[in-house]
Every structure is written in structure tokens, then in C-alpha cells.
Symmetry: C2
Subunit: 222 residues, 2 copies
């Protein structure tokens, strides 16, 4: 007797994983590496991308923008002349607070995968749910602004735990804040001792070149 | 023939509304006015409360802290010697990104309503889902940090639309940012022309006394 055991997937997160795997297969088939970039609202994801993607060298980069409503971030990136695709998560009432694999799947036909080496997915600004939903990405990074305070890794541990690299942004503000950088690093160490950090300021440009090199380097990582 | 039509409530948001009404009935029975205080992570809700509640005069104030994990904010308020109750939203994986009426309901037995005139509910830091779930409050305010950028009312319209008062926090940072205050006000006006605004800085104390008077004034509003 041939016996097959089917393990039943449980609920929304498992369905999300199934679709995420399909997304990743599509990305891999085109040789596109995908970064899921996450942060709280206003931490500076778009500003960092804007500063870093002015010159992408040999790397062909596209951006997928996730927002509750509007295309403000996509509009800000328009002058870079990169392929930018916008997802809005608000078909209903207040909108979804995160991207999930199925939303990204619905956008894939609009993304010119054959013309890309790297796709940056800028998630909805939120430190909780985006961390729970993989979308088929190969890497997860976040941006954390020093204006948010050093306690954030302890308050939103899953987000900080699932990211390989944390850009500590707006360091130009450090002289004007009570932010405890060593305390932040210690808090991050408690939830994710493996996380790499980069101190950056999209405003004065410090650290941006290093962040840019790491970002473009993702394209070669596969 | 006597005919009765029952309108069937639809889904989670309606169930939430039913429980929120039960919460509000409990608050009203004790003469407690309730504020739902919302913001993005790190906008300064706790710092503002800490600055404002050092002296509550004749008003008996309690705080209900909503966090994914931990009691960092409740601990910060401990020295004020007010009744502080902590809700954690992380029974599962990454945790819930908002408080809902049922979570607040589960906390009510721990809150000394008979000894309070005003209860401040500090919601989870998030600009999307907290706006979708009423918890039985009488007032909705938010805190928006100038470090987050002036585009936030357009990107998270429901949040800004459902709040009566927006505290524009961290104005001490304005000389060090490119934040366009007039642009922020114009964006807010597009989604909520009725919203009142107060410019404050929990760090240097500017505007805090006005915010405090408005906050304590909520207790008398009923």
C-alpha cells in the first residue's frame, strides 16, 4: 500500500507561506534578489532609498512600494528613473497595516522582473505585522530612527529579531536627542545578537555610501 | 402579526463595536471619561503623559498601557503613583498591532474605575489598525512627531481623521529638520479639517501645560 501523509497547513500564516514560496520561485527564475525593507512610519525608508539609488552602477534595481493609500513614496522616487510599482492596501475601511504574500503576488505581473537584478519592497510603516508576513523575500532589513527612542527592540522584538541588518537612521539628530545609542545596541543585542547595524543619516549623507554598497551587494548574493 | 427584523452584525469590526459599547457603559456607570491615545512607535505618548501627569490636581487619573510585549511604559509611569494597568498583545507569534475592545474588556476588572475620573488608554504604536478598533473611549487623540515627516496625514488618513486632537510633538527638533509645519497642517486639513492641533515638546516642556489642561479637562467633559 502506498501511503501519503498530507500535513494540513494551519490558517492565514501558512497560506501566506505557500504564496510567498511561489513568489520566491518567480523571483529566482528571473535571478532577482528581493529585499523586504521595514520600519515604523517616518523612520526614513524612502529617504534612504532616494539617497542610495541615485547611482545604481551595473545593478538593475526596481522598487515595490506598499502604502495604505496614495503614491507619495513612489512619486518621490520617480526622478530616479527606476521601475517603481505601487500597492495600496486599503480596499476596505482603514486598510491593511502590512504587505502579505498575496498582495505582492498580485503586483508581480506589473514588475519587469526580466529587467531587474534587485527588487526592494518598501513595506507599510509598522513595527508589528509586517514582520509576521514573509512575502517571498531573500533578505529582511529595517530602518530605525534615533528619534524613536532606544527601547524599540524590546517593545517590538519580532521585527528586530527577523531582520539581518538595522540601519540606525537620523544620526545627525543625536546631539539634539537624549537617545542612548549604547542602550539601543544593548537592547537589540537582547533580541537579535546576530543583527548587523549601520549608522546612517539620509539628511547629511553619513553612512549612506556603506548602506548603498550593502544594498547593491544583495544583487550578487545569490 | 408582530414582525421583528434583526440586522445581522457583520464580522470582527461589528463584534468589536458591541463589546466597546459594553466597555463604555461600564466607564459611564463609574463616571470615568476615557481617552484613546494613539501614535506611531516612538512619537512620544509616554513622555507626554509622564510630563503632564506629574500634577493631576483634583482629577483622579489612571492609565491603561497597551504594548506588544513588556511593561517598559508602565514602568516609566510608576513614579507618578497613579493606577497603571498593562495589557500585552502577544499571546501568539508576533503579537497584535492594536488594542481591541475585548482586550480592554479583559483588563477592566484590574482597573479601579470607582477611584478614577479619567482613564488614558495608551494604544500600541501603529498608525493603521488602532484607528479601526474603538475600545469604548469617549475621546481619541494622537501624537505625531515632527521627526516622522509632514506626509503622514495623507499616508495614514483614517488615523488622522478619527482623532479630535493631534499633538505635534518634538517641536524642539524643528531647527534640525526639514519638516514643513505648514505642509503638515495643510495635509491634516485635507483629511480632517476639524482636528485641533497643539505644538508640544515633552523634552523642553513647551506646550505641555496646555496639553495637560486639555487632558485633565476631559474628565469634566462628561
Amino acid at each position: 500500500m502506498h501511503q501519503t501523509t498530507v500535513r494540513v497547513a494551519e490558517g492565514a500564516l501558512d497560506a501566506n507561506e505557500t504564496i510567498a514560496e511561489a513568489n520566491r520561485a518567480d523571483f529566482d527564475a528571473h535571478g532577482v534578489r528581493v529585499l523586504n525593507l521595514m520600519s515604523a512610519p517616518g523612520a526614513g525608508k524612502t529617504s534612504l532609498l532616494e539617497a542610495a539609488l541615485r547611482d545604481t552602477g551595473e545593478v538593475r534595481v526596481g522598487v515595490l512600494e506598499g502604502d495604505v493609500r496614495g503614491s507619495l513614496d513612489a512619486d518621490r522616487l520617480a526622478h530616479l528613473h527606476l521601475p517603481v510599482t505601487q500597492i495600496n492596501t486599503d480596499p476596505a475601511f482603514g486598510g491593511e497595516c502590512h504587505l502579505d504574500a498575496n498582495m505582492v503576488r498580485s503586483a508581480i505581473p506589473e514588475i519587469p522582473l526580466a529587467e531587474l537584478d534587485l527588487l526592494v519592497i518598501e513595506n507599510v510603516g509598522n513595527l508589528v505585522c509586517p514582520a509576521e508576513f514573509t512575502v517571498g523575500e531573500h533578505a529582511r532589513w529595517m530602518v530605525s530612527s534615533v528619534a524613536e527612542g532606544e527601547d524599540k527592540p524590546l517593545k517590538y522584538p519580532l521585527m528586530f529579531r527577523t531582520c539581518e541588518l538595522v540601519a540606525i537612521n537620523k544620526v545627525d539628530l543625536l546631539p539634539h536627542l537624549d537617545f542612548d545609542l549604547a542602550g539601543f545596541r544593548s537592547n537589540l543585542d537582547q533580541v537579535n545578537p546576530e543583527a548587523e547595524t549601520l549608522e546612517v543619516s539620509a539628511r547629511d549623507g553619513s553612512g549612506v555610501e556603506t548602506w548603498r554598497e550593502r544594498l547593491l551587494g544583495l544583487a550578487a548574493a545569490g
